[in-house]
Symmetry: C2
Subunit: 413 residues, 2 copies
Amino acid sequence: MSVSMKGNVIVGQSGGPTAVINSSLAGVYKTAMDRGANKVYGMLHGVQGLLEERVVDLADHIKSDLDIDLLKRTPSSFLGSCRYKLPDIKDGTELYDKIFKILEKLEIEYFFYIGGNDSMDTIKKLSDYALLNGSQIRFMGVPKTIDNDLAVTDHTPGFGSAAKYIASITKEVIRDGLVYDQEQVTLLEIMGRNAGWLTGAAALAAGEDCEGPDMLFLPEITFDVDGFMKKVTDLQKVKKSVVVAISEGVKVADGRYVCELTDNIDYVDAFGHKQLTGTSRYLAQRISREMGCKTRAIEFNSLQRCASHIVGRVDITEAFQVGGAAVKAAFEGETGKMIILKRVSDDPYICVTDIYDVHKIANVEKKVPREWINEDGDYVTQEFVNYVRPLIQAELTPIMVDGLPRHLRLEDV
Amino acid sequence: MSVSMKGNVIVGQSGGPTAVINSSLAGVYKTAMDRGANKVYGMLHGVQGLLEERVVDLADHIKSDLDIDLLKRTPSSFLGSCRYKLPDIKDGTELYDKIFKILEKLEIEYFFYIGGNDSMDTIKKLSDYALLNGSQIRFMGVPKTIDNDLAVTDHTPGFGSAAKYIASITKEVIRDGLVYDQEQVTLLEIMGRNAGWLTGAAALAAGEDCEGPDMLFLPEITFDVDGFMKKVTDLQKVKKSVVVAISEGVKVADGRYVCELTDNIDYVDAFGHKQLTGTSRYLAQRISREMGCKTRAIEFNSLQRCASHIVGRVDITEAFQVGGAAVKAAFEGETGKMIILKRVSDDPYICVTDIYDVHKIANVEKKVPREWINEDGDYVTQEFVNYVRPLIQAELTPIMVDGLPRHLRLEDV
């Protein structure tokens, strides 16, 4: 590869992290440096930090090949993240003017943003503004989200590792549920506000050595509390330990979240998303009260997005690739696009990258298709499992130091 | 080793499982077979299943060296467990007569019970009864418990892996807590009803790449809710993301558990132990209400005892060794004893097995010494860390099949 000198690059991370979001950062950084970038800046806490000119020169923080490999294995967003929604351009350009002034001061030519739906909205608006104002800065989106709800792309980096983690611990919890010879209902509460990809991934626990969960409830299907209670009661007549996976985002017919049937709502983020919690606890209390058996409500919680001690190698490699592909595309002149993954084949699994207009991706949610959920609405189909299975394959072993996984920490800046 | 033929062996698992309790089962089984046992039976669900003559011939279920290695990596208790308390012998021997009749029918000569405090009470009583009635059956205890609260032994198999898991995910959650540039308090609720060994283990997260948790609250220290609130408030003046680990078993001055300040108590087990839950949620609600910042209550839950996807090799090896040592001792004529671990040296870590009178171990709880907790009662000392550090060393890689850790399942019996 012949390398011609390029200008300055800036990269940010936005929205909830994944276990592999830093692999995408490594992909952007390493590819940009390899392809002749002058400087690669990192914005701290996304555009929110950029507005305060909180940026670092990544070369001061990623100093060796070992650092690259540690970064790939580091949970959370190395640069910090934000949930910051840019206003519509038609409502005033003050904020945009400020951002572009900062970018010009830093002599930025390429801008990369690693994120999900909301973050692609930022890429869309910034690239629109650049176009309207004759700026030559190129804006590219790098997909990430454990939720797998981005449109167009076959799947999103981060989903595979979260699915692998969920399926692995679901196997463990199912074995644990059988330890005592007593009736017990275990409820696994899984992330995914509107899309049930992660809840469905619990089905992958089923195999030669595991019964799998008994039922799965995805947010795509209206949840019927009484129907649920009847199903659990019937199940417990034939087996003592019942294990049910349920999305934090299931809603009843009147539109309320199940967790809103309790009083545990206390936080709404900048995009107006409610922070959900309490679905499994509410249902566990009802089961305990009405059926009188032991219950256990297990919230998988933020470990779903930060359990870097068990990540998938397919996932972490693809996360790196989409970062690298974004740099390549931008250096070749693309802007206002997001890198997508295109599956060529299921078995053997083959997947390539492509680029796609971010306007058709931003703010669109990809849900689990109805035909990948069974008729009763309480499990996923074999097609769903076949789709997810290749994404959880292989492992990237943690780098263990003194008994614990080693991470790369952004030193005080 | 010259092998003389031995009679029949029976082994059971009792109390809460650990991630390595099946390694002890493997140690008992393999050592007994290697040393000439005729048959090795497994009792299903401990003495509770034994009373119903629910036993299996382990040779039908552990068929190869691969099975032994899968068994070591299998979470939960392979044979099932129970929380069954034998009556005092002086209150009547009916139950004992029944157990011994079943053991005689199976021609058992050696009885092994893998468990914690309560399970050693069973070994104590059965060996006493044998002595009183001239039975030649030998009874040996094999220590396990994630809680590390068994007396005399330096530590218990199971604790090291739970500590490794807790420290690993604490590191991940600490990084995750820094993702947004906002004030946040994260509360980690950790198992250990009366002993704070596991909560203290969160301190091992601190190192070159991690700040560690900010405070730790062990059940050995009376918990002061108002003092806690003040400490958290003061901490948040100097850092945005505060992470606190707290034992599920902390109690306030009047003797109530913190979780009893809520209404979430709904289950008491056969030993009269309350099932605890809600400590972190209660405190998170108070912080949210009084300080107005974002909170996250993370219950580490049953994964602490069943996360076999990340176990320590030191721990799993010792778990196997105590099983094997129990067989060796019983075959040499010992009874009414438990295997203990004796630490010879911290660095390099050297630890050997020994045998000890179970009467001095049963029903005694080993707590964290006051001098291993700091004066303010909100952290552990370096001595504590030095004690735990060797126990979390090294890894036993899961056997991954089709993307997930493989387990050995007890087929339907």
